[in-house]
């Protein structure tokens, strides 16, 4: 990757998001490089989903700019943007239509792209996320939580995007199924050169997926880490240290105030 020469497909500068008088995101800046997997981690409520939503045009940008291929995005996202950028929501109901069968939802992107071999593509997509054709005629509410999450991922991939905004894409999956999905994402990144903006509260997952990680707290960026720094625990802020420490697991008696 020749940084500097190629333009960041996605960049965020001084981003602020306000809801009435509540500031959910304050002055956040980062670039996502071509072919990179960029992680966002941090406390619940720190603004991670809001950043993805602001990029996707679903939350108001009150300050700063979001650039797509170097150009500031407009209030209504361009056709090129909508084609290239897909979002997998944290709440999988958000990504799926409640009254359409899985088959119909997976057919939609294929129809829009004007591709043939519809059934083969659908089968492949659903098997890649560890499910099978027996799920095709179900509605979202007839699936388990993790099955819904995987259908949402399969749908986003069928659109053949260049950039995926993934909000906790595997939080409802056990480690084995999660590994299948993460391996699939790694394969696609290598074969199709996809770029990911990856939100997760699980540091092990982010460590396995991402080259660079931005740690968020209270709507602000606290620290930008390389994957190496995170894995070896070489962090400079107390909060990042606390996160790493807590990821060692539940020990009765240790709470947030004491940890860190």
């Amino acid at each position: 990757m020749d940084n500097g020469m190629t333009q960041a497909p996605l960049s965020v500068a001084g981003l602020g998001v306000e809801f009435s008088d509540f500031r959910a995101v304050r002055d956040v800046s980062f670039d996502v490089r071509h072919g990179e997997s960029f992680g966002l981690v941090g406390e619940s409520g720190s603004g991670k989903s809001t950043i993805l939503r602001a990029i996707g045009g679903l939350a108001p940008i009150s300050h700063g700019t979001v650039r797509f291929r170097g150009e500031p995005v407009r209030a209504t996202r361009s056709r090129a943007f909508r084609r290239a950028v897909q979002m997998v929501f944290q709440d999988p109901y958000g990504s799926l239509h409640p009254r359409q069968t899985v088959e119909r939802q997976l057919s939609e992107p294929i129809r829009i792209l004007g591709l043939d071999d519809r059934m083969d593509r659908i089968r492949q997509a659903i098997e890649q996320v560890g499910l099978n054709a027996s799920f095709l005629y179900r509605f979202p509410h007839q699936l388990s939580g993790g099955q819904r999450q995987r259908i949402a991922i399969a749908r986003a991939l069928l659109v053949q995007p260049e950039i995926l905004l993934l909000d906790e894409p595997t939080s409802a999956l056990d480690v084995s199924v999660q590994a299948e999905v993460l391996n699939l994402l790694m394969d696609l990144r290598e074969t199709r050169g996809l770029t990911y903006l990856f939100v997760s509260h699980d540091l092990a997952v982010v460590g396995a997926m991402c080259e660079r990680i931005l740690v968020m707290r209270n709507g602000e960026a606290v620290e930008l880490l390389t994957g190496d720094q995170m894995r070896s625990g070489r962090v400079s802020t107390d909060y990042a240290r606390q996160l790493l420490r807590a990821s060692e697991g539940y020990q009765p008696g240790i709470t947030r105030r004491e940890a860190g």
């Binding site: 997997s37 941090g42 406390e43 619940s44 409520g45 991670k48 989903s49 944290q90 709440d91 109901y93 560890g130 054709a133 027996s134 005629y137 179900r138 007839q142 388990s144 939580g145 993790g146 099955q147 995987r150 909000d167 906790e168 409802a172 999956l173 056990d174 480690v175 084995s176 199924v177 999660q178 590994a179 299948e180 993460l182 391996n183 790694m186 509260h201 092990a204 997952v205 460590g207 396995a208 997926m209 080259e211 994957g227 995170m230 894995r231 070896s232 996160l243 790493l244 807590a246 990821s247 697991g249 539940y250 020990q251 009765p252 008696g253 240790i254 709470t255 947030r256 940890a259 860190g260």
Partner: protein, 280 residues
């Protein structure tokens, strides 16, 4: 007969689907006292359905049967619906897996929790409001006043999860069924929420069914772990005996745990499922 808090025998749930009948639960049996039981198992193995069936919350088109479903000496299979509704919410609380979807979208968070406190514990409005602030703080919501005024779509995923938990905890049930209650929480907040649950269980002698896909978390937090696979319980272990697990699914899962120092881009280990696991 022992005085179990909950006693389930041969619970079966079948759905009619266009692809044929789907036997989602195939004879689930277990009994528990006032303890912390973890239910783990892969996606689709029937964990949520087990929790919902205990409260009779399976969708109408499902066929549900059981040889026994007793809660605190009462037979929930033959109980009149009115009595069942009273138990639900007051004595058994269920934290659903999709909190945003389960909260009422047109009522503020504060109103929903206060209503639960009034219905579950007969509180006055003023007392319920004060209690709402207290439980929201207890689940680590730092600005409860703002969050009480918010509607469900105005809170984050992890906040919605904690709000749902607060709403159940505020009723002080005897049995709490928590379906993936911390799956959206970062580790620091997760530890706080677990500490809160621990405290309630010790202080009030509550029973807890903790549904999770996270084997490591459950083994650290619960007394006993039930492992489900394809609609059945394949193994039941003391939490500290997980390393002695026999079932290949359980053993396989333990080998798949990613470590924080995993090299980026390196493929993660996955389980090879065997068709025989479904029947053996």
């Amino acid at each position: 007969m022992q005085d179990h808090l909950l006693d389930i025998r041969n619970l079966r749930v079948t759905f009619a689907t266009p692809a044929g009948p789907n036997e989602a639960l195939r004879g689930v049996s277990f009994a528990m006292g006032r303890e912390k039981i973890g239910i783990v198992g892969e996606s689709g193995s029937g964990k949520s359905l087990t929790g919902k069936s205990i409260l009779g919350l399976t969708p109408g088109r499902a066929s549900v049967t059981a040889d026994r479903l007793m809660f605190d000496g009462q037979d929930m299979l033959t109980m009149p619906p009115r009595q069942l509704r009273q138990i639900r919410g007051r004595r058994i609380g269920l934290v659903m897996q999709d909190p945003k979807y389960c909260l009422n979208p047109v009522k503020t968070v504060g109103r929903q929790i206060a209503t639960a406190a009034i219905a579950g514990r007969g509180m006055t409005m003023a007392a319920a409001r004060a209690e709402t602030v207290r439980v929201l703080r207890a689940v680590q919501i730092s600005d409860p006043e703002r969050v009480m005024r918010a509607y469900p779509h105005e809170v984050s995923g992890g906040m919605a999860q904690r709000i749902m938990l607060a709403m159940m905890v505020v009723c002080e049930p005897d049995l709490l069924i928590a379906d993936e209650p911390t799956s959206a929480l970062d580790v620091t907040v997760q530890l706080e929420v677990l500490a809160l649950l621990d405290q309630l269980i010790t202080a009030r002698g509550m029973g807890l069914i903790f549904i999770s896909h996270d084997l490591r978390l459950v083994s650290q937090f619960c007394d006993r772990v039930i492992v489900m696979y394809a609609g059945r319980i394949v193994e039941s272990l003391a939490a500290n005996q997980l390393h002695n697990a026999q079932h290949p699914y359980t053993r396989g899962l333990m080998n798949c745990l990613p470590a924080i120092d995993h090299k980026p881009g390196q493929r993660l280990p996955v389980l090879k499922r065997e068709a025989s696991w479904i029947t053996e």
